[in-house]
């Protein structure tokens, strides 16, 4: 293997990518748009829950509860209603996510020392939103119960829960999603750069010219792989800086472990990209092939929904997905403060996927050549 050959090809590849207006566009526009829009829009946290109050009780206890809900930054009281019949319209039309019904005997029952119940009606069309909103309401009620008991000199339940969250202390979903976006974006970029590089040459007919140069297939493969890895590392660095400065996400672990993860992940992404590239005849097929790989890779990676919730058979499939491992690495290093030791079981599968896919791409290359 000749190093000069590889360097020459790498330089040529970089020029090809950077001089073409369209390729430059792919490198710059989608990542920036996606990082900004995704990061701000993709959150499971709720900060606006429209609620309607159906309060039939004029007592002080009910008023205090209403005041607590009105004072919450999350709930927005959009209507006060007086009849059962009004509930359906509010929920059906999506004006209110929930309706809280305080019955006539609420305050009186509490004064007597009874346990009184509140009815809440939720719009379940988006089940996750409904569940999160319900949890917020429960927290308000738990506080209300404690305060009510404390005011009367009674203690709450003898056994209480003292809950703490580790790694993401305020449970902000942005801390979870934004590191994932790093994995997503560098996967897209590395995959597209490599998947298109060979297909473009095939379409333009320059691939045949490349074959008659003294370059060996292995050298072509390496020369085509390196630009994708370098571009991926640069983009990962830019995204990392933005994460730290713009989104205030902590970097608690070992930066070296993160970069080792990035390199191994890019190796596997580039391997898959070259495999697509060596099968595809045209650029359109290469783009479609990349797309057919990307969508399942993102969905099965645990990027937005946990792998543990998937059925067992689907969980096996996720072991083939390099993004799955990288997401653990990037979240582990950023939030959990992991170093090399805890991440070793994420590193080696990515290395295996990278080596196997590169070897397959090399084999496909050679088969196509002769």
């Amino acid at each position: 293997m000749n190093l000069d050959h590889i360097i020459a090809l790498v330089i040529k590849e970089f020029l090809a990518v950077l001089r073409d207006k369209r390729s430059r566009f792919v490198l710059i526009a989608p990542p920036v748009v996606q990082l900004l829009v995704f990061s701000f829009a993709a959150t499971y946290d709720l900060n606006y829950v429209p609620i309607a109050l159906y309060n039939e009780d004029r007592g002080g206890a009910a008023q205090e509860l209403v005041a607590r809900i009105e004072g919450s930054p999350v709930f927005e009281v959009i209507a006060h209603i007086d009849h059962d019949a009004e509930v359906a319209a509010l929920i059906n039309n999506r004006d209110a996510l929930m309706v809280l019904h305080i019955g006539q005997n609420f305050s009186a029952g509490l004064q007597r020392g009874d346990s009184v119940s509140l009815q809440v009606i939720l719009d379940g069309r988006n089940s996750n939103t409904a569940m999160v909103a319900m949890n917020y309401l429960r927290t308000i009620l738990l506080d209300y119960n404690h305060a009510w008991l404390a005011d009367r000199g009674q203690s709450g339940p003898q056994v209480s829960l003292h809950t703490r969250a580790w790694f993401n202390e305020n449970l902000q979903s942005r801390w979870f999603i934004v590191p994932g976006i790093m994995g997503l974006l560098i996967l897209v970029v590395a995959l597209l750069v490599t998947a298109l590089s060979v297909a473009r040459e095939r379409e333009a007919g320059t691939f045949d010219q490349l074959l008659v140069t003294p370059l060996r297939p292995m050298e072509i493969l390496i020369g085509k792989a390196i630009p994708g890895i370098i571009i991926g590392i640069l983009e990962a660095t830019i995204i990392l800086v933005l994460m730290l400065l713009l989104f205030d996400i902590p970097l608690r672990g070992d930066l070296g472990a993160l970069y080792l993860g990035i390199v191994l992940f890019l190796l596997s992404a580039v391997g898959v990209g070259l495999m697509i590239s060596s099968i595809a005849v045209t650029q359109q097929q290469a783009i479609l092939g990349a797309f057919l790989f990307l969508v399942p890779a993102v969905i099965l990676s645990g990027f937005s929904t946990p792998i543990a919730n998937m059925p067992e058979v689907v969980q096996w499939l996720t072991y083939l997905d390099p993004l799955r491992y990288f997401l653990v690495v990037v979240r582990g290093v950023m939030l959990e403060g992991d170093g090399y030791g805890l991440l070793i079981h994420q590193f080696w599968p990515m290395a295996v996927i990278g080596i196997v896919s590169l070897a397959m791409a090399g084999w496909l290359f050679r088969r196509r050549m002769y």
């Binding site: 829009v37 509140l118 809440v120 719009d123 809950t163 580790w166 650029q283 359109q284």
Partner: protein, 375 residues
């Protein structure tokens, strides 16, 4: 339209249909992609946690603490493991073997029996905040369950002044599949309508066959109709297929009217096609058309449509942006028609918005194509 016009249109539709049928990549987007997405989302994507691995640390086991641990062991939401010490459990949490810890200190039972407050320590892995909140909620549920049993065993009432009775409409079991699968139909139709159309038509510009079409007696309107009709049929086919899978395979109820679903889908399909055509006319190049279609239609349909993330909780500027995304209106229609029924105020408002978008984009495409053809 006169006889000659009809003939021209028929010829154009025939040509486009053959083009779709003979190209493996359009077939793969139109048929493989919907199947792949529906099965991945229907089976793979779930926000409903079950068997959450939690560690239980009981520093001094006895009947009271065992009863508490039993509550977790019998819950379908947890998959508990006992640990000897809190350090071992914390290490397991660090190594991601468990997602949460329930910790009863050695003085738990003695405090409980002597009438003191006996706290339970709970630690959850907060990295996946949504999952952590759900886990927290389940732990609280198990705790309340135990509290009421304990109070009953002691012959007392549980001192809980206010309790909440929840009723969830439309999706009583709060299953995430029920809202993900209907929303997915909007994404599949976006893929067929915008991405596929944009790329295939851009290829005609790239290859110069658009110029060849210009030289024929085809009028602008006939050419657009000829392009739209085959993809419209393809898209509606994908829609029907998805609805069938949703109802029969994934047991999503269709509570609204089927014909309203067809009508609103047709409306959305036309908007998606108009956008696809517009992208192809503007970019005239497959590569750029593919990229623009992904960024301008596919990703927004995923993230900004309310399909997965709650629009009301996005920053104001992004909420504004969502009004420009046709999928936003269609996702609202789909979730309502499938889960809630024919709720006219929701349907009319969203269909009205789609109609406005349709008129706007059709006029734009008409003008652009006409100009390109004449200029």
């Amino acid at each position: 339209m006169n006889t000659a016009g009809r003939m021209r249109l028929r010829g154009m539709i025939r040509k486009e249909s053959l083009q779709i049928l003979r190209d493996p990549s359009s077939i793969s987007i139109a048929f493989i992609m919907p199947i792949l997405l529906l099965f991945l989302f229907g089976y793979g994507v779930s926000l409903d946690a079950k068997n959450i691995p939690v560690g239980i640390v009981i520093e001094q086991p006895d009947t009271a603490s065992d009863a508490l641990a039993g509550t977790f062991e019998h819950s379908e939401f947890f998959h508990p493991q006992r640990f000897e010490s809190i350090q071992m459990a914390q290490q397991a949490l660090d190594e991601r073997r468990i997602d949460g810890i329930i910790w009863l200190r050695s003085d738990f039972s003695s405090r409980l029996f002597s009438g003191h407050e006996a706290p339970i320590g709970v630690i959850v892995n907060g990295v996946d905040s949504n999952q952590a909140n759900i886990t927290k909620g389940y732990i609280e549920g198990a705790w309340l369950f135990w509290l009421s049993h304990y109070a009953e065993a002691q012959g007392r009432d549980l001192l809980m002044p206010v309790v909440l009775e929840q009723r969830v409409w439309f999706n009583a079991a709060l299953s995430s599949r029920m809202f993900l699968v209907p929303g997915l139909i909007a994404i599949i139709m976006t893929l067929i309508g915008s991405l596929l159309t944009a790329m295939v038509v851009a290829r005609e510009w790239e290859r110069g066959t658009m110029e060849a079409l210009m030289a024929t007696p085809l009028r602008t309107g006939e050419m657009l109709a000829g392009k739209l009709i085959p993809y419209f049929v393809l898209g509606m086919g994908g829609m029907l297929f998805s609805v069938a899978l949703a109802v029969w395979q994934f047991d999503v109820p269709l509570r609204g009217s089927f014909w309203l679903l067809m009508l609103s889908s047709a409306l959305f399909m036309l908007v998606a096609l108009a956008i696809g055509l517009l992208i192809s006319v503007v970019s005239k190049n497959q590569f750029v058309a593919g990229q623009v279609a992904i960024i301008a239609t596919f990703l927004p349909a995923f993230i900004l449509s309310g399909f997965l993330f709650d629009i009301n909780s996005m920053p104001e500027a992004i909420q504004w942006l969502t009004h420009l995304i046709p999928a936003r209106y269609f996702v609202a229609i789909l979730q309502t028609l499938f889960l809630a029924g024919d709720i006219w105020p929701v349907l009319l408002a969203n269909m009205g918005a789609l109609l406005i978008m349709l008129v706007f984009f059709t006029v734009l495409v008409w003008k652009k194509t006409g100009k390109e053809l004449e200029g």
